[in-house]
């Protein structure tokens, strides 16, 4: 298992697109270090012959009929938009 000193909160926060204050970064660095040290106990378990369980109940390939039905109107879908115009979400510029 990786050494918990590897955790770089500032770097992970960038991956997560989550701005943290310096105080939050320092606090989480210490607190999550404790949590990860606690999680090291999982190294004790022999898992060499175990299949990983994504879900407790195995369910695969669930389909329903591909039929049109009543659902949101465009107006409803936009009803919570922070910015909208002409039936569209207004987003922050993504191209130069």
């Amino acid at each position: 298992m990786a050494k918990t000193s590897d955790l770089d909160v500032a770097y992970v926060a960038r991956l997560a697109r989550l701005d943290l204050t310096n105080a939050e970064t320092a606090l989480f660095q210490r607190q999550l270090g404790d949590v990860l040290r606690y999680a090291e106990k999982l190294c004790e378990v022999d898992v060499s012959h175990v299949e990983a369980a994504a879900h407790a109940v195995p369910i695969f390939n669930v389909f329903r009929e591909d039929e049109p039905r009543d659902w949101f109107t465009a107006e409803q879908a936009l009803s919570n938009a922070p910015r909208q115009a002409n039936g569209l979400f207004i987003v922050t510029k993504v191209v130069e």
Partner: protein, 492 residues
């Protein structure tokens, strides 16, 4: 019975009055609103309630339906069309759900009236409701203590008689633990038994919706309404739904109850231990056989839980990007700034902590060491339960290692709060069902604090644990005790 006493009733008793036309659904809504106005200033269980909408629905309520005319409080993570659904987070401030969750649709079909959205830990992350970005909810038994969490608002509302029953969600104990700390009944159904469609996702392989009620019978009544297959949810189980009320009243002769030696942890409150010991003796005197079992991987459950739950949460919460709904940062200078500040401003500390942890355990180089290993240990925990259930019908344990704690007592070190889930999170990891019922009181500073007994059943065996819980409840008086804030109306 005068109108003022109505809120003290459980759902089954309220229904009798409604069906005998001794009270109308409309009166019930008015009386409940008055009760909320009387006590919620002290409890702060609710984030919002739409009285007009509920009163309108009450006008056309059919009291002969299974939950006809019964108001139900809804955790603010479940979508009720036209009402706020904030998850107690600033990032969803002002958001209104455009549609009903499947559980709400089913409650309405059974005649129930969703009334009031209840406080919770932000995005259901927590065990005390202290992580709400909106307000603190107080425990009706002692206003200086937490009601448990994350469904603390629903639990406190039911305990304080400002709701007849409520819905919560349980990812690692968030229905059962607040039920225990608030002195009521909380059921976490089997994974897949109740649809999560329209419920904001926290950890998708663990989340379940379930009832918080004053009695076991009421829990069964709500389960009858909300359980079942949903084509709109891929993890929903396509299995027949039994009548959960039908087995209530059966005795415990021949029922085998397991005691796991790994649940006899040091550090559990001695008063909790004593109450559970007494409850086990009582169940034995009712005819149940008590069998020792072993769940050898119990000690790893909390670590597995916090790796898997945070990993799933970091992915689920990626949708809060300030584009289609929710908070958006002002004047972003580019897209990264838009995302980073929107999320930095919108999420509270515990949610941020978990996004960081979850992102880390999924990141390149650490995935195998943490996430994959945790999934494998999860499988071993699941197998522990499967083996135990070859020998017993249900398992018995405390719901929480301690009764309600004081505000701030466990917030400084997240790990301390995480260990509060030690008896509850294994059931989520294994996908099985569990229920908490009142089984005694601890004395603290001259106050009585409720203790919860947890019964765990195998997958889809809700009817069995309800039956056992009901036999226990019927032969004890714990559930009849009321917190000081509710006792006044019971005496009136």
């Amino acid at each position: 019975m005068t109108g003022k006493d109505l809120p003290a009733l459980n759902i089954a008793d309220l229904q009798s009055l409604l069906r005998r036309r001794e009270v109308s659904p409309r009166e019930v809504i008015y009386v409940l609103r008055a009760r909320i106005q009387d006590v919620d200033g002290e409890i702060d269980a609710y984030l919002s309630h739409d009285f007009e909408a509920a009163a309108k629905e009450a006008e056309k309520a059919n009291v002969d339906l299974p939950l006809g005319g019964v108001p139900i409080a809804i955790k603010d993570i479940i979508s009720v069309a036209g009402e706020p659904c904030t998850c107690a987070s600033k990032i969803l401030h002002g958001y209104r759900a455009p549609y009903d969750a499947t559980v709400i649709r089913k409650l309405r079909a059974a005649g129930a009236i969703p009334f009031g959205k209840t406080n919770m830990d932000e995005f259901a992350m927590g065990s005390s409701t202290e992580n709400s970005a909106m307000k603190l909810t107080r425990n009706p038994w002692d206003l200086s203590r937490v009601p448990g969490g994350s469904s603390g608002g629903s639990a406190a509302a039911v305990a304080a008689d400002e709701a007849f029953g409520g819905l919560g969600t349980d990812t690692g104990g968030s229905i059962r633990q607040p039920a225990a700390l608030s002195g009521i009944v909380g059921l976490k159904p089997t994974y897949g038994r109740v649809s999560r469609f329209g419920v904001v996702a926290f950890a998708s392989s663990l989340d379940q919706v379930g009832p918080l009620t004053k009695t076991v019978r009421d829990s069964a009544l709500i389960m009858n309404a909300i359980a079942g297959h949903d084509l709109q949810e891929t993890t929903s189980l396509n299995e027949p739904v039994p009548d959960y009320s039908a087995g209530l009243g059966r005795d415990l002769r021949g029922v085998r109850l397991g005691l796991a030696k790994e649940y006899m942890i040091e550090g559990a409150d001695p008063q909790v231990k004593a109450a559970i010991d007494a409850a086990v003796k009582h169940l034995n005197s009712l005819g149940a056989d008590i069998v020792d079992v072993s769940l050898p991987h119990t000690d790893y459950a909390t670590a597995v839980y916090y790796i898997l739950a945070t990993a799933e949460a970091s992915a689920n919460l990626a949708r809060f990007d300030g584009v289609r709904y929710g908070h958006r940062a002002e004047n972003p200078k580019d897209l990264l700034d838009h995302y980073g500040r929107t999320r930095g401003e919108g999420f509270g500390p515990e949610v941020k902590r978990r996004i960081i942890l979850g992102t880390y355990v999924l990141s390149s180089g650490y995935y195998d060491a943490y996430y994959l290993r945790a999934q494998k240990v999860r499988e071993l925990i699941r197998q522990d339960f499967a083996k135990a259930f070859e020998k017993v019908d249900a398992l018995v344990s405390p719901t929480s290692p301690m009764p309600a704690f004081k505000f701030g007592e466990r917030t400084t070190e997240p790990l301390h709060m995480y260990l509060a889930d030690i008896f509850t999170s294994p059931a989520n990891l294994a996908g099985i069902c569990g229920i908490s019922v009142p089984c005694g009181f601890a004395d603290a500073d001259g106050r009585r604090l409720p203790i919860g007994l947890q019964l765990l059943g195998k997958a889809l065996d809700e009817a069995r644990i309800l039956q056992i819980a009901h036999a226990y409840e019927k032969s004890t008086d714990w559930h009849k005790a009321r917190p000081p804030i509710a006792a006044a109306i019971h005496k009136a």
